[in-house]
Each structure stands twice: as C-alpha cells, then as structure tokens.
Amino acid sequence: MRCTGVTKSYGAGDAKVMALRGIDLDVRHGELLMVVGPSGCGKTTLISVIAGILDRDAGECRVLGRDLKRLGTKERARFRGASIGFVFQLFNLLPALNLVENVTVPLLINGVPRKDAESRARRVLEEVNLGLRLDALPGKLSGGQQQRVAIARAMVHEPKLIVCDEPTSNLDHATGQTMMQLLRSIAKSPGRALIVVTHDPRIYDFADRIARMDDGKIVEVIEGGGKERLQ
C-alpha cells in the first residue's frame, strides 16, 4: 500500500476541515504498521481512504496495486470484500448471528457456498481458541472473546490487508496484550499487512513500524527501535 500526497477535507467554505494534509505513507508486505496520534488527527480518515471507504481529494493511493478511487462503487465494494479485513473497536458483530455465522459473512459476501464458508469459519474460530463456543451468540461472550471473533472474521477470507481500528481500547490491559499477540501470531503473515490505528501506547511493542500523525499529517515514522520514545 502506498499513499503519496493524500489530502481529504470535510465540509465546504468556512466550515471546511482539512482531515488529511498530504499524507505520504507506505505499508509493506507482512508488516504490522501502527498509526498513532491524538484524537481528531485524521487516523480514522486515513484508514477509511486506504480501505476505499472514503475518496481522497488529491494525491495518489494504491492498495495492492489498485487505485481505489478509479474503481466504480460496485468494483470497490468487491475489492474491499476480497482483499481487506476489518477489526473494529466496538467489534461490530451481528448480534443475531452465532459465531460461525458471523465469521462466514465475508466469505458469503464473496460468493463462497454456505457449507464451505461454515467449515472455514469453524477452522478459523478454532485458531483463535473459540472452538468450543461456535454456536454462541456474541452477546454471551466477553469483550476479549468478541474481539477474537472479530479477528477471525477479518482473516477468514484471507485478505492481503487487515485494517484494525482501536482494537484494544475496549479491552483491559491483559486482554489487549493477548489480542495483539493473536493479531501478530495469526493474522500477520508474509503475504498480509496489518494497519492498526490506536491511542494505546501499551501495545506499541507489537508494531513493526509506527506512523505518528498530528493535524492531518504523518509527523514521523518510527522503525522498531524508536518505539520506547513514543511510549
């Protein structure tokens, strides 16, 4: 994923707010990149542009070799469905569906037959240690368990990029650490990159690189060794 000079604004005239002011960022294969910064600095806007949910105003941004802005709505949705996985702060599991059904959703959206989708979902849920709760509803699970389901859902269709939005901020410290270990050990792979947006300095250790944002810009990108300074 490579973005250069990406800008994005909301509103118009006097109410116009520049959310991104020329972002240059790349994410490499197999790395876990954290995007950090204060609230309102543009982190969410940045991942929305990267994931093809928002259109940038200017600049270039290629994800897995595709410029999402040039794709039509339908193609972009298809690309997102096939190539990107999402982990949300509030888990956003579908409350009426059990764990297997929740995890099958990305596969079904991609047209995988239900039986195949369910067997793949079961396998991934076992990987995240939820093999004994396959038929449970999300409401019956703890926050940590729900986030594990969300991780399973994000990786079940083997996307090349997983976007995580504040994955630990609704979890206690220990569970947050476990979750990040899980993300690193299972979700991260040589062919798959992870972008994690967070405020939580306690998980910076899990990053390969950290992009620090402020006021709509990347102010620095810190390689592994400099993380202590941010903490």
């Binding site: 339908k74 949300f88 409350p95 009426a96 079904l108 959206i109």
Partner: protein, 398 residues
C-alpha cells in the same frame, strides 16, 4: 446472505415480535373490516338468499335493490307465468308496517306477504312448527331480522292490554307463539318465529299470507312487489329473465344479478355503507401506517449492521435483497397470522354474537396484497438510508 438476513430479523426477538404483531394486526384489521362490510352487504340481499328455489326475480323496472321497492300490478303474476320456460312463479309482497305490542310499545316491521297456496318465501320456523300455521286466521310469523331486543313483549299479563296507556319499563320476554300484536288496528296472532337470515338494514320481519297482508295494509292499488320465478330445466335464469323482460316489460333479474344489483345500490345509496367504508379505509390507513413505520424502524435500527456489511464489501444489490427478504418474510408471516386470526375471530363473532362477518375470497387476497404493498413501500423507503449509508460510521472516530 439472505438466510443470514432472515436470521438477523428473527434473532432480534423483541423487534421481530413487535413487527409480526404489527403486521398481523394490520392484516387482521384490514381483512376483518372488509369482511364486516361484506357481511353487511350480504345481509342486504338476504331475502334473495333465503329463497334459493327462485332463480329469477321480477319487479318494477325502476327497482334496483331489495331495499327500495315499489309494487307492480297483480296481473304481473299471470303475465310472468305465461312466459315460456317458467317452471313456477309465485307472488311476494313487501311493505312496512308499525305494530303495536301489548304494552303499547310500537315497532316498525318489514311485512312480507307470501303466496297463500304455496307459502313460498316463508323460511322454516323455529321449534319445528309447520309453515301451515300461517294459514290460520290472523296469523303472522316474526323474525328479528338482525335486530336485538325488538321483539320483546311484557312478561306480566297485567302489563298487557287493554293497556290504557303505554307501559314501557316493564319486564319483558321474547315474542312467542300465541302472542298478539296490532297492525293498523288489525289483530295479528304470532304463530311462531322464523329462522330468517339477518337483514341489512336490520329490521324485524313479519311474514304473513298475501291475503292477510291485504287485510293488514291500508288499501292500495297494487300489493305485489316481486314475482319469484324458476326457470324450467334447460333454460338458464338469465335467459328466462331476458324473455320475461321482453314479453312483460317488467324488470327481471337472475338471483345472482339481483344480489349484485343490491350490493351496488347499497354501496352507492346507503349512508351506513358509506360510513362503514370510511371506517374500513381508516382502519386500513392506520394499519398501513403501523406496518410501514415498524418496518422502516426495523431497518433504520439496523443501520449500523448494514454499515458493517457495506464496509466488508456488501454491495447495494445485496443489501437491498436483504432488506426485501426481511420485509417479505415479515409481510408473509404477518399476513398469514392476521388472516388466521381474522378467520377464527370472525367465526366466533358470527356464531356467538350474530356478527355480520363474511370472509369472501377476495378479502384475504386484498388484505394480503395491501400488506405486501405497504411492506414493499416501507422496504423501498427504508432502503434509501441504507443505500446512502456511509460505511465509515463503523469506525470508532466517526
């Protein structure tokens, strides 16, 4: 995904139950109100239904219903009988009379004069009493005609005539064989109660012979209202009606056509039917409003879930399919439950309370179609926010 859409709907039990209840109620309300209207209209042509052996009704050319009639010359009976293709033809007279009860109370009755010889037009009597009692002097047979409490006569002999003034607040019982009434100062001896169909507009009925009717009614040039005829084998009722009309100049209608004429006349001319139709319309509007709002709320309450699906790559077509599957499932189940409930409640109301309820073939179809239409409209309206939905709302910072 459509299966999951159904699970999403069913899984949210409280909302699903509310939605089903709302749609069932709408379907029930619409179908019940329509069946109620049909029931009333059916009672409008009860006299035709009561005489299935006559399949052609002959009347004055200006008559359009069983409700508003005028008489025809007595010679009409002979003229009708002379038409080829008649199996039989009998006279029937309609009039309105005020009858005085033994305590001085008076009540308006529809007097039905039947053929003296055949007693054709007189329904079976309650208690297995023979119809021939009508041939006894001054005899009359009464029926409630869809009314309640209008055939009450005093229990105590002391409260009966000679009354010397009305005694209206005395204990009363239903008229029975042997009771007497006064019609135009002529004595009528009640010989029994008829198993008549309820009428619309509801009015007590008094059956008597034509000769007795002529005695009871003020002198009139014409007494005959209808000639009831039956087509001979091999001749259809419509064909016979056409022949009678051509040969006698009178209006002749097959039973089915006369029923339809009566319904049309009531729909156009009866203020009560107009009021009932307004009530039906209001019931429909309320029901449709409830259905539409509930369906809309269900979809908009699930907007976040749709946003998640959209972020994960679900396109508009898939989301629309999900919304329509959910609406369709609710509409089908709700309509079914509502129709079932309507049939059960209607049957009970009809049997226990003599309620005018007739669930005709088109009432459930109409009710179901209307609910379906509202569900589709609600789905279309609620699809708009889903299609316009910005999937980015699923992110924490948005």
């Amino acid at each position: 995904m459509l299966r999951l859409a159904m699970k999403m709907l069913v899984g949210d039990r409280a909302k699903y139950a509310g939605l089903l209840f709302g749609i069932s109620f709408t379907s029930f309300l619409v179908t019940f109100a329509l069946s109620y209207l049909c029931g009333f209209l059916t009672r409008g042509f009860a006299v035709v239904t009561e005489n299935p052996a006559a399949n052609v009704w002959v009347m004055d050319p200006a008559v359009e219903s069983t409700e508003l009639t005028t008489n025809i010359p007595d010679s009409a009976l002979s003229r009708v009988r002379s038409v080829a293709g008649i199996a039989f033809a009998v006279p029937l007279a309609f009039a309105t009379v005020d009858a005085r009860f033994p305590n001085g109370r008076f009540q308006s009755f529809r007097l039905i004069g039947v053929d003296d010889a055949t007693l054709f037009g007189l329904p079976p009597l309650q208690g297995g009493i023979s119809a021939t009692v009508l041939r006894t002097p001054d005899a009359g047979v009464v029926a409630s005609g869809g009314t309640a409490g209008k055939l009450e006569t005093p229990v105590s002999k002391a409260a009966q005539w000679p009354y010397g003034g009305p005694r209206l607040d005395v204990p009363a019982r239903r008229l029975a064989a042997g009771d007497e009434l006064l019609v135009n100062d002529h004595r009528v001896v009640i010989r029994g109660l008829a198993k008549s169909l309820p009428r619309y507009p509801p009015k007590p009925l008094m059956y008597t012979t034509l000769s007795n009717a002529a005695r009871l009614l003020p002198p009139e040039r014409h007494l005959l209202t209808f000639v009831l005829a039956r087509a001979a084998p091999g001749v259809s009722a419509r064909e016979l009606a056409t022949r009678i009309k051509a040969q006698t100049g009178l209006k002749a209608r097959s039973s089915a056509d006369f029923k339809a004429d009566t319904v049309n006349w009531l729909l156009i001319n009866s203020e009560d039917v107009g009021d009932m139709a307004s009530m039906v319309s209001i019931a429909m509007l309320v029901g449709f409003g409830v259905t539409g709002v509930l369906l809309f709320m269900f979809t908009t309450d699930s907007l976040r879930q749709y946003a998640v699906l959209k972020a994960m790559g679900a396109d508009s077509r898939l989301l629309l399919s999900m919304i329509f599957v959910q609406s369709g499932l609710c509409a089908v189940l709700g309509t079914g439950l509502g129709l079932g409930l309507c049939a059960v409640v209607g049957k009970i109301a009809m049997l226990e309370f003599d309620y005018p309820f007739r669930m005709m073939w088109f009432t459930p179809i109409f009710g179901g179609l209307m609910v379906m239409m509202v569900s589709v409209v609600a789905a279309v309206i609620s699809a708009r926010p889903v299609l316009k939905l910005e999937p980015g709302v699923v992110f924490a910072g948005r």
